[in-house]
Amino acid sequence: MAETVLQVKSVTKHFPGVVALNQVDFNNYAGEIHALVGENGAGKSTLIKVIAGAYQPDGGEIIFGGQKTVWDSPHQSREAGISVIYQEFNLFPDLTVAENIFMGNEPLKAFRLIDYPKMIKESDELLSKFGICIEPLKKVKDLSVAEQQMVEIAKGMCNQTKLFILDEPTAGISDQEAETLFERLAVLKAEGVSVIYISHRLGEIFQIADRVTVLKDGNLVDTFDTKAIDKNTLVSKMVGRDLEDIYPPKGGEAGGEALSIKSLSVGHLVKDVSFSLRQGEILGLAGLVGSRRTELAHGLFGSLPITAGSYKLGGREVSATNPQASIRSGLGFLTEDRKNEGLVLGQSIEANITMPILAQFANNSLVDFKREKNFCQQEMDKYAIVAKSGEVLVNNLSGGNQQKVLFSRWVQACGGVLILDEPTRGVDVGAKVEIYKIIRDLAESGLAILLISSELQEVVGMCDRVVVMKEGRLAGELENDQISEESIMHLATLSRENFVCD
């Protein structure tokens, strides 16, 4: 048996009102990829934060490289050779890509001065290993969410590591980019690096992991060899029950035109896009990272200026140039960047859910708290949001639960067309099934839904029709039987060989 790099012994971690980890045992060998799975709020991120010294455990011990360790800061674990890609972005928006990648790990010259030329050169090499074109001197705030995720991954890779931990690295990036990540991980594995890999995309786990550990409600369920277990069994271990079909049956009659877009351009980002969406229909918007799907959505929502073309909502020409007006005319938009554009992290679940619809709970401009509270409790039950009460701050929720809060908000606020940008990003399988069902029900109740997703399976499983974007333009449209992972990929990558870095 290979050398044991990490041993977690009976670790416990409490937060006010929650036991995030309850006497969890876990170990990792050199040269293995060990997957960590479980529902939202199961304690996965907490476990890796304890391992990395970002949280201090309330009980138990951690043995790293044969020695019992007590980290009091991530600085120490990093020095010891643990590198972590956290679930939430940990980037510095006003610094450049290169500075971000090497933050805390800068190549130095004499006098602790930073060796910029070297840093820029190495960033470039690192990024091109992933086959992505990101200018190392660009500021991170000018990148898309997916590009930021790639920077985050590159940041984790630049270290000399013994233990590499990745918390949902593929949330929000497309399968193409994910593949390059897997290739890199295989190389690291061959070099003897030990890897802990968290993901809600179970397909990936069977593709790359050697072992898989399941957590549930802070407790260890068990650790399995991936060869010795199948997907259905794994799912039932995670959610504690068998799941029937993941995707609800398609169909339902599409009604009148809900949204029609004519040669729409958003600056130089989106060029000349036209398509339409009918009531009761789920339209997928697919494409690679950087194909400008999100920017198109921002244009429709009025948060980026439309520079040419027009669109109609429910048959009426829209001249909305700001989000307030768009919301009033019936558009809802679940943004992909939940931390920066979605949630108010320092506020409660309740405040976040009712934010755009607070007027509904007001009598003569005073908020009826009781009604608000009841309503939010229903919502929390409906989406299985794990929290002690609606008053818990969104900051303290697990990533997937934050996503559900955002989802609940926009479903409530929307009156005709709902744009969902990566709605299941970081959501566990059980909750995904629920969310898919809700999306389908919404469509059946007459809502028109534009679903932006980088997870091809999701697009194929959910959408009645799919439009594919490439580099800011429409690359094609697929219907019924034409929809498959291959056909979408084909349109999305068409003539990508000629694609050059600018």
Binding site: P74, N90, L91, F92, P93, D94, L95, P117, L137
Partner: protein
């Protein structure tokens, strides 16, 4: 030098362009307002007037870059200036030990600010506001009047000239350039931006964020003490109330120079030009015989208008 490196250097923030433009406008206007404006005497005046504000804002810039604020600068200036002239009291043999002692005191107060902020987790605004009140009280307990006297030779600090060039304003500019290089190129300098940009991310990146915070407040205490020592030299005596002006004025050049209060963005060069903007403006208004009430109003309007230019708007 590689191509890429030049690119880093050439990426200058637009806010610096805007403040520089404003300074230039004011200088041009100055020549029209009065023929005495362009005299060497007046230009030297402007340079000399900028030293104390410059030193105080230097420290403030470092603090604001981490997303904090230091309101105790004024208290430190008052206390150190009074202690210096009060203890020395004309006795030049005491000069160097006292100055060294006062510098250590200022550094210690700054470090204490930093440690309190980090350990207690109380917002810097509160910690340094409290500190400023304590220091002001201590100063007034020590003396109500300008105390003691400085030996004549200490005048050289403020009024010394080398080949006809006043030394103090030159040194101040050199300090700014040195700090610019430090922020740009040293690792610790980068960490100041990192902590201001995203404190939790900095911690998770393995940066010892607490050390960075303690460092900037310590540096700020040091620069405030330099300000106090310089003022003692200019006036020949300390003054228990002189610091009050710097408590808020040290923030103005920083924000006018494009450093954002939330931290993580900006720099010292903007602050330097911001200092000149304020000083030239005051000089100009004096020539125009505008009373100080109007000066306040005009200064206030300029600050708001200038900063409104740099606010980032969503662009395509």
């Amino acid at each position: 030098m590689s191509e890429a490196f030049k690119k880093v250097v050439s990426k200058i923030d637009p806010s610096i362009g805007i403040v520089s433009g404003l300074v230039l406008l004011l200088v041009i206007a100055g020549f029209f307002v009065s023929d005495r404006f362009g005299t060497t005497q007046n230009l030297l005046n402007i340079l000399e007037n900028s030293v104390s504000l410059g030193l105080a804002s230097m420290g403030q810039t470092l603090v604001i870059l981490t997303g904090g604020i230091d309101l105790s600068i004024g208290g430190i200036i008052s206390l150190t200036s009074c202690l210096t002239s009060g203890v020395i009291n004309g006795n030049s043999s005491l000069m160097f030990p006292v100055i060294a002692g006062v510098l250590l005191l200022g550094i210690a107060i700054g470090a204490l600010n930093g440690v309190l902020i980090v350990r207690l987790g109380v917002h810097p605004l509160i910690v340094t506001l409290g500190m400023s009140m304590v220091l002001q009280g201590v100063t007034l307990m020590y003396t109500l009047e300008p105390p003691g006297a400085m030996p004549l030779s200490w005048d050289l600090v403020a009024y010394g000239k080398l080949l006809g060039v006043p030394v103090a304003p030159l040194v101040m500019v050199l300090i700014f350039i040195a700090m610019w290089a430090f922020l740009k190129k040293a690792r610790l300098g980068r960490y100041i931006f990192a902590v201001g940009g995203n404190a939790e991310a900095a911690r998770l990146s393995g940066i010892r964020q607490n050390r960075v915070v303690v460092f900037v407040y310590t540096a700020c205490g040091f620069f405030a003490t330099l300000t106090g020592l310089y003022l003692v030299s200019r006036m020949g005596i300390g003054d228990p109330r002189i610091g009050g002006y710097y408590m808020l004025s040290s923030i103005t050049p920083v924000v006018v120079g494009g450093t954002i209060l939330a931290g993580g963005k900006g720099g010292v060069i903007g602050t330097l030009i911001g200092v000149y903007l304020i000083i030239v403006l005051r000089n100009l208004l004096n020539f125009m015989d505008i009373t100080s009430f109007y000066q306040w109003i005009i200064e206030g309007v300029i600050i708001i208008v200038a900063v409104s230019f740099y606010v980032e708007r969503k662009k395509v």
